[in-house]
C-alpha cells in the first residue's frame, strides 16, 4: 500500500440479501430464549488483589471415560453472544509435543498414560493446549500453556459438584510472561458429571463482555477470560463473574462455584 491507508469502497448489502435477512429475522415468531437467561446473576465482591488468578483443580478419578476427545468443538447452547473457549481436541502430534515438555518421549507407546482432558482452549494470544493426564502409578499432571502442576483436589460430590484448589496461582506471571498488556484469569476445575458447562465473563463500565463458555471433558473444565489493560484506565473497577449450568440448563447454585465473583481493579493501562 502506498499513499494512504486505502480502504475498499463501501458497499450496500445486496437488495435480495437485505430483504432475505430481515424476513428471516422477523419470521422467527418464537423468541429464542437460551437456558442461560434463567441464570442468576452474581453480585460482585471486592478483593484486594489485582493479579491475574488461576484456580487449579484436580483430576476426576471417577470420570475417566468422559475424557475421550471428540472430533469437533462442542455445540454450546448459551446466551446470544457467548463465545466458546473450547476449540476442539488436541491432535496426536500436539499431544506428543506437549508430552515432550514433561520429559516423555512421544514416540513411546502412550497407552500407559491416561488422558482426561486434551483440548485447545482459546486465549488472548491464541489457543493454548490444556492437558490433564495421569502417569500411573505416578501423579496426575496438568498443563495449561506454560503452567503445570500435579496437585489433586478432592473429588466432586453431589453437594460440591465443582471443585477447585484453595490456593490461587498467578497465571499472568506463569503463562503470560512477556505479554503484560493482558490481564487473564483462568482455572481448571474438577467437576461432577452433572455439570454441563462453566461460563465466565468480565463486566466493564460499558457493559459486560460476552460470556466465555467452557465445556467439561473427562471430569475437567478449563475456563479463561481476559482483557487488555490498555483498554481501561488504571484503577477502573471491572468484575469477574462465573456461573455454571447442569445438563438441563438449570443454573448451579453460585455458592458452589469455587471462585466467587470479584472486583478487579485495573492495574495498568492508559491514563489518558
Amino acid at each position: 500500500m502506498s499513499g494512504t491507508v486505502l480502504l475498499p469502497a463501501e458497499r450496500k448489502l445486496p437488495t435480495h440479501r437485505r430483504d432475505q435477512i430481515l424476513r428471516s429475522i422477523l419470521s422467527d415468531e418464537e423468541p429464542v430464549r437460551s437456558t442461560t437467561r434463567r441464570a442468576r446473576w452474581i453480585a460482585p465482591i471486592a478483593v484486594a488483589s489485582v493479579a491475574a488468578l488461576v484456580a487449579v483443580g484436580a483430576i476426576a478419578l471417577a470420570d475417566r471415560d468422559a475424557g475421550a476427545p471428540s472430533d469437533s468443538p462442542p455445540a454450546v447452547t448459551t446466551s446470544d453472544d457467548a463465545v466458546p473457549l473450547d476449540l476442539g481436541p488436541l491432535s496426536q502430534a500436539e499431544i506428543g509435543s506437549e508430552l515432550e515438555t514433561f520429559g516423555i518421549d512421544a514416540s513411546e507407546p502412550l497407552d500407559r498414560y491416561e488422558f482426561f482432558f486434551a483440548r485447545r482452549i482459546d486465549g488472548p494470544d491464541g489457543p493454548i493446549p490444556v492437558i490433564v493426564m495421569s502417569t500411573p502409578p505416578g501423579p496426575y499432571v496438568y498443563k495449561a500453556g506454560d503452567l503445570r502442576g500435579n496437585s489433586v483436589p478432592d473429588a466432586p460430590t453431589a453437594q460440591r459438584p465443582i471443585r477447585g484448589m484453595d490456593m490461587p496461582l498467578d497465571l499472568a506471571q506463569a503463562v503470560y510472561t512477556g505479554t503484560p498488556d493482558y490481564w487473564k484469569a483462568a482455572g481448571l476445575y474438577r467437576v461432577a458429571e452433572s455439570v454441563d458447562r462453566v461460563e465466565v465473563r468480565v463486566g466493564t463500565p460499558g457493559g459486560p463482555e460476552p460470556w466465555r463458555v467452557a465445556t467439561p471433558h473427562g471430569g475437567f473444565v478449563f475456563w479463561a477470560t481476559w482483557f487488555e489493560t490498555a483498554d481501561y484506565e488504571s484503577g477502573t473497577e471491572l468484575t469477574l463473574e462465573l456461573r455454571a449450568f447442569d445438563a438441563d440448563g438449570e443454573p448451579i447454585d453460585p455458592g458452589l462455584i469455587p471462585d466467587p465473583p470479584r472486583t478487579i481493579t485495573v492495574p495498568g493501562g492508559s491514563n489518558s
Partner: protein, 205 residues
Amino acid sequence: MHEKRTTQREGSVVAESDQATWSRLCVGDPEALTAIYERHVDTVYNFAFRRTASWSVAEDAVQATFSTLWRRARGGGLSPLRLTSARPLLLTMAGHECANLLRSQRRRARLLHRLRPSPDAADHAPRVAERVDDERQMSEVRRAMRDLPRSQREAIELVVWAELSIAEAAEALGVADGTVKSRLSRGRKRLETLLGTPVDKEREA
C-alpha cells in the same frame, strides 16, 4: 450524531429519531426493527467487512447482529437508547458477532485446509472478482492493524472508518471521551509509522 429518517404517514412526512424508534423496538414492535435495520444495515455491513475482511462473513454478521437485537427486544431485554443514534450500540454488537464468526471461520478453515481444492471451485464472475479484490485489500489493512493494541484499533475503526463521533465511540467502548481521543491519536501515529501513510478515511471510488 442525530439519526433521523423521514417516513410517510397519512400523507405527511414524519421524522422519527433513533431514540423514538428504539423505544418502540423495546416493546417488540417489528416496524421499529425494520426501521432501525433499514437505517443502519449498511453501516453494520461495512463495519463488519472492515473487521473481518470478508463480505460473506459481514453478511452473516449483519444477520447475527439484528437477530440478537430482535431477540433481546422481544424478550424485554433492551434498555432505552441513551445516545441519539443507535449506531454505537449496533457496532458494539456487531463487533461481538464478528468475533464469534471469525472463530467459527478459523475452525472451518482448519478443516478445509485438509481438503484438496476443487478445480471447479473458482468463480471468475467480475462481481466475485471485485469482492475478492476488496477482501485481499482489506486483509492487508487488517494485517497492519494487528500491530496495534485492540483499544487503538477499535478507536480507528469506530471514529475514522465508521465515522462515529468521539462521544459515540466513547459510549460504545465504555470509556471516557478523552480516552478515545488519546487512543485515536496513538493509533493513528503508530499506524502511520507502520505504513508510512496517513490513516484518514480514504477509499477507492
